[in-house]
Symmetry: C2
Subunit: 182 residues, 2 copies
C-alpha cells in the first residue's frame, strides 16, 4: 500500500567509520523512479529507565552533552550493545549510573528520535521497588543523580528547563500511566 | 557550578563532509583531566508544526523514512536553512507540505532529540485558523496528508503505532494545552 512513498536501495557506501558513528551514503530510487542520495547512520538502539522511588519521586541525572556544550537533565539511559537484551541493558545501566536496583520492571514504549538520518530507537522502562546501592560509572562518565516529583518535572518541561525528548516522553507517559492507566 | 561535569575542546577535525551530514571528531578533556573522543555532527535545527483544524482534528503526514525502511506518521516538519527564522520556516513548510496556511501561530516548546551525537533542536509551533490550499512539495519529497483527532492520536501513541518523538511530544503538549492551559 505504500509503493507511492517507498524508496529502494540502488547502492550503498560506508563513507565514515568512526569509533561510534558509522555513516552510510546510499543511492536510492524514489517513488517517481528518479534517483536521490540518503546519508544516515545505523544505531544499535538504546534504553531509557524511568526509576520511580517509593516516595513518588523520579530519579534523574545531570549530564554534560558535548555536541550542545550544555548540561542536560535526563532520565538514566544507555546505548545497547549490538544484540543485547533491552531489559537486561536497562537493569545494568540503572545500576551502573545510579547504584539503584529495582524489584519491578515494566516496558512502556519504543520511540524513534532521529528518523531523518538514523534508525535509532529507544525503549523506555518503568522501574519500581527501588533499592539504593553503589554506582559503577564507566571510565570517562560523569554525572549527578537527583530526584524530583513528577509534578515538578512537568513544570520544568513546561518552562523549557528540560528539553531532552526521552525525558519529556517518559514524564508525559508516567502522567498518563498515573491518571489514565497507560 | 558544572566544572565537575564539563568537557572541553582540545582539537577538532571534520572527518566527513557529505551533502547533509558533516561529522566532527573532537579530542576533549574530561573533568578528571583525562582525554577522550567525541564524534558528533552539527545540525541547523528544525521546526515542527502542530496544525489544528477548526473541527479539532490534527493534520498529520505519512512519510517513508529510509534509515528505518518504514513509513512513519508524523507532524509536518522541516530542517531550517542556516540562519533562517524558525517561525517563517514553519509557515513555509506547512504550506509546502500540506497546502494549508494558518491565521494564528504560537510557539510551544524547543526539544533536543539526539543529545549524545548532535546539537539538533526542534521548535514546535501550534498553527490554528487553517485554510486549505495547494501543496508545493520539494523535488523528491513524497508524503500523504490526513487528519486525526487528538484522542485518536493519543491512542495510536499508546498502542505503538506512532513512535516519532516530535509527534508524540506535540500530541502530549496539545493535551496539556487543552486541559491545563500549557
Amino acid at each position: 500500500m505504500d509503493d507511492h512513498l517507498r524508496e529502494t536501495l540502488i547502492s550503498s557506501d560506508l563513507v565514515y567509520e568512526g569509533e561510534f558513528l558509522k555513516v552510510r551514503r546510499d543511492r536510492v530510487r524514489l517513488p517517481d523512479r528518479s534517483e536521490s542520495v540518503r546519508e544516515y547512520f545505523r544505531h544499535p538502539g538504546a534504553v531509557v529507565i524511568l526509576p520511580l522511588l517509593d516516595d513518588g519521586k523520579i530519579l534523574l541525572e545531570r549530564q554534560f552533552r558535548y555536541p550542545n556544550d550544555q548540561v542536560f537533565i535526563e532520565l538514566p539511559a544507555g546505548k545497547l550493545e549490538f544484540g543485547e537484551d533491552p531489559l537486561l541493558s536497562a537493569q545494568r545501566e540503572l545500576k551502573e549510573e545510579t547504584g539503584y536496583t529495582a524489584r519491578s520492571w515494566q516496558f512502556l514504549c519504543r520511540i524513534h528520535n532521529a528518523i531523518a538520518y538514523s534508525d535509532e530507537h529507544l525503549d523506555i522502562f518503568l522501574a519500581e521497588g527501588l533499592t539504593p546501592g553503589t554506582p559503577a560509572l564507566d571510565a570517562g562518565e560523569f554525572l549527578d543523580v537527583f530526584s524530583l516529583s513528577l509534578d515538578e518535572l512537568l513544570l520544568w518541561i513546561r518552562s523549557g528547563k528540560v528539553t531532552d525528548v526521552k525525558t519529556i516522553i517518559g514524564a508525559f507517559w508516567l502522567d498518563k500511566h498515573r491518571v489514565d492507566g497507560w
